[in-house]
Amino acid sequence: MPAIPVMSDSELDSLRSILKDLTPQGRSALLPALQAAQQLYGWVNEEVAKEVSVALRVPLADVFGVLDFYAMLYRQPVGRTVLRVCSAPVCALAGGDAVAESLCRHLKIVPGEISSDDSFTVEHAPCLGLCDHAPVVLANEVVIAPADPGAPASTCAPSKQSAASFVGGDIRLLTINCGAGRTTSLNEYRQRGGYAGLKKALTMTPESVVAEVKSAGLVGRGGAAFPTGIKWEGAAKAPGQPKYIVCNADESEPGTFKDRILMEDDPHRILEGMIITAYAVGASRGYIYVRGEYRHAFNVLSAALAEASDAGLLGANISSSDFNFGIEMRLGAGAYICGEETALLESIEGKRGLPRIKPPFPTTSGLFGKPTVINNVETFCNVPLIIERGAADYRKLGTERSPGPKLFCVSGQIERPGLYEVPFGISLRHLLFDLAGGMKPNRRLRAVLMGGAAGAFALEKDLDVILSFESLSAAGLPLGSGAVMVFDETADIGEVLKRLGHFFADESCGKCYPCQLGTRRQHEILDRAAAGHALAGDRERLSDVGGTMIDASLCGLGQTAPMAVLSAMKLWPEMFK
């Protein structure tokens, strides 16, 4: 029988004191507890997992199930520094594989192994949300962007640096405080008019705040484009207390980095949006769930929460009103699926991040079974703007059916990758050629992947498409999360599809059969196509697997996992037999 690691009481003392504080939260503290344990010991062994199980009263097998679900939690030793090399399409085009190979050669290991001095482990990571700095490595919490494949030693010993993203666009409303490469403090935010929306909201009735957001025509910016006001109204009217506001900051869609910039550069705008939302729907508790790879954004938001609480903007009697609202932070642990709203709620509850069956919807039965509004970071950032300016003024931006400002994440083979804020209604050509500087010298556009991994390809002929929900939908292109990945003629689309195939196969939660099995079968077919070994019948296989995932999958991940592939099959049928 293998020896069970025996840890002394003194070794376990620091864990036990952390667990003592978490015990009252029960299972919902499972992720924070496992993360704290891992922070202490580098990984979570059996004995440590048992301590967590006892303290939070979660069955052992369930603790193991959660531990084994999340990619950033380890049940076996790893190097003290985990070097996560982004393997998403944009980083791959910029030399991500060469970075990983040079690191492995330098450390004399293969991905997943520990270097001989226990210092390093190299891993392939899904999109790290730094596509404008490709290729990217995350060394524990430190971002190396771009990483130099020729200098693995400096990647292993990074000087503390944070990558400043280029922020531009035709308007600067949501991003007015972004792009300086540092965080906007509470004082600065207030000096520039911040929290005026909250002040105004508190003079209105909650019903009129909801009505204002409804008439502004705001729809969710996370990808599903659900009308925000209708969501709020549902939660406001639903019976049950307490009600919850959840900020979905699990931004993980490949090619998307807008929420990271909003969080890192202007955290108070998000808090203000959440506080107004809470007031409008009568919620007293909130959570911000930040993806595990965004440790810096998590730290920035945590600090902003403390600032806001000290200033009386959070907690009891906010701004001397009788309205109370508190926010708790949650850090994800490496699971794209947790961006799906109900999977995110499960994750906060201390479970594996599996999407729930809908209905019931979160508005009536959300977090802990209570009425819940869950919105994306960018959606919350629109709220102060709407309240401060009024719906009519807000609607002057954008188009009739897509009002307001929109953030686009432009990355890939283009002159000036970055975050661009525009009113809905500009053309894709304007975004790429006027704002982002167009193609690199002497390169021609091959395709633009719109909407992320779950997106569709646009070609040169589509450049005049108008960026609005209605026009894009008519053109058969998704807006998704606002990701715009540009590929020039040097890019191998087969290779891009292969990356997307890997991504969905790695990130499927495994709950429903179409996605659990279909993402793996799709990835195998895309692999052999990229290697030039497509089999006869592969086109039909992809189309049946894809159609089945779209039609029969339980959640949005499975329903969109074949989108880019099916779009490519239409445009480049010769890629498959």
Partner: protein
């Protein structure tokens, strides 16, 4: 509760509000195929083999979970539903040992699914676990219907000995750090074995009988570790 009237494949049926499409179809004598569904377990809509097409709804809906509504028009065997069923069956056959899953085998024949549709496909191959005298665990046959985990937990036994591990295609059923069954909270109630539809969980005596081993040897091999103490001898 008031009855709801809907049409299923053109036939009208009235059922109490809250009835699932699956049960409403049964009332009409129509069998929608199911794999993960079990009358006495919480339905989770995992296998999606029971998907049906409902007028005005874009994605297909799982009949086991979806509730009827007034005037609903359901088609249980539209081309899309059949394509999904056939493809799901083909993908199951490509990944899992279905040799002891006669119900699924029948569906494969019914839907004319091609067992060899996916050449060179990775199979979920895991070694047989024989770690206790009561039952064998052959997860190469596991289709992840969740029934065993559910009856071990809130659906029946509240023992919580098993849960999931991994994710995606690599999801499996496991114990705490893969411990052998006798080292877990398992009470050997047998509920999980009883609900397993594919022979992934099997009584050890049954497995040995199938191998043609003599009764004496079987009894010897499956005696519990602990001897019962007799009061007097």
């Amino acid at each position: 509760m008031a009855d709801i009237t809907l049409t299923i494949d053109g036939a009208s049926v009235s059922v109490p509000a809250g009835t699932t499409i699956l049960k409403a179809a049964e009332k009409l004598g129509r069998q929608v195929p199911t794999i993960c569904y079990h009358d006495h377990c919480t339905a989770n809509g995992l296998c999606r083999i029971c998907v049906v097409e409902v007028d005005g709804v874009k994605p297909l809906l799982p009949a086991c979970l979806s509730r009827v509504s007034e005037g609903m028009k359901v088609s249980t065997s539209s081309a899309r539903a059949e394509r999904s069923r056939r493809t799901i069956l083909e993908m199951l056959a490509s990944a899992i040992d279905l040799s002891e899953a006669p119900e699924i085998q029948k569906f494969i024949d019914d839907y004319r699914a091609d067992r060899a549709r996916f050449p060179d496909a990775e199979r979920r191959e895991v070694p047989l676990l024989d770690d206790n005298p009561m039952y064998l665990r052959d997860y190469a046959k596991c289709i992840l219907c969740w029934r065993c985990v559910q009856v071990c937990a809130e659906d029946a036994q509240f023992t919580f000995a098993i849960n999931f591990k991994g994710r995606g295609f690599d999801t499996g059923i496991g114990t705490f750090f893969d411990k052998p069954m006798p080292e877990t909270t398992c009470v050997f109630c047998g509920q999980c074995v009883g609900v397993c539809p594919t022979g992934a969980l099997k009584p050890k005596r049954e497995a040995l009988l199938e191998q043609g081993i003599s009764l004496e040897e079987i009894l010897q091999a499956t005696k519990g570790g602990k001897k019962r103490r007799r009061k007097s001898s």
